[in-house]
Amino acid sequence: MGTHATGYKDPFNSGKALGLNHTKLGMWLFLASEVMFFGGLLSAFLHYRVSAPAPVEDALLDITLVGINTFILLTSSFTVVLGFGSIQAGNVKRLGFFLGATIVLGVLFLSGQVYEFYSLTQEGLTLTSSVFGSSFYTLTGFHGLHVFVGILWASYVLLGALRGKYSSESTIGVEVFGLYWHFVDIVWIVLFTLIYLI
């Protein structure tokens, strides 16, 4: 979603009012609804963690691995803004480089998560082993799914960049992707704190 759709007839006021670009506004509205979606899953996690009669199995969680993963995702957000800064300055090559870096970092993050899931499963924490397991995997799994979608999207933007779709005049496609990626990063900051730190 996001970019000017085909068959779109330019509105009389060229899609801007109140200083709002409509693609960007649409993205923000979508992100608002994403807040509530993650919020629902997160509430389930917190509810069961707070109300659990027995101590939950969060001692199994490996903070070192997740710490590394957190750094990876933070860095990927950094590469995305650097990419956006590049295209604003009209440097398509550097945009391509940073998008590539973002994709690599995203894949690394997902690999880390897959490894984490695998080792936790080995230790007996599964989707069906306890309510904690159910809510932990569902919540982090849906975040991982969003990272995955983000990687696909980044590849799409990268493809567009290689075909010369973006320039210093036309940055909205990169910016909107950036908003999504940073949002997924923020979700991780919250999950990291609520699941692993506390």
Partner: protein, 98 residues
């Protein structure tokens, strides 16, 4: 046309230096949090939770303000994203204590 100030987008974005500074702050904060959770410092447990929550809030706000340019865009986007966050907090609290 409207009461809001028309503000063209895409021209008042921060410089690369701001991006770097924000990244360093985020990384340092995360490192400190990790160290805290691994008990490198002796901090009472009941102080840690609010500390971590505050840390998450600051980090999330930094990303939103600088990387997502909320600080440079119209306030409208900030409202769009802050209102659901508030409602979500209300929901999470109410659902957990009910």
């Amino acid at each position: 046309m409207s009461t809001h100030v028309d503000q063209p987008t895409g021209e008042t974005h921060p410089s690369t230096r701001v991006y770097v500074v924000v990244f360093i702050v985020l990384a340092l904060m995360t490192a400190v949090e990790l160290a805290l959770s691994m008990d490198y410092f002796v901090v009472p447990r009941n102080l840690l939770t609010p500390l971590f929550l505050a840390g998450a809030l600051i980090k999330a706000s930094l990303v939103a303000a600088f990387y997502m340019h909320l600080k440079y865009d119209t306030k409208f986007y900030t409202y769009i994203i802050v209102i659901p966050v508030i409602l979500l907090i209300v929901f999470a609290i109410m659902a957990t204590i009910s």
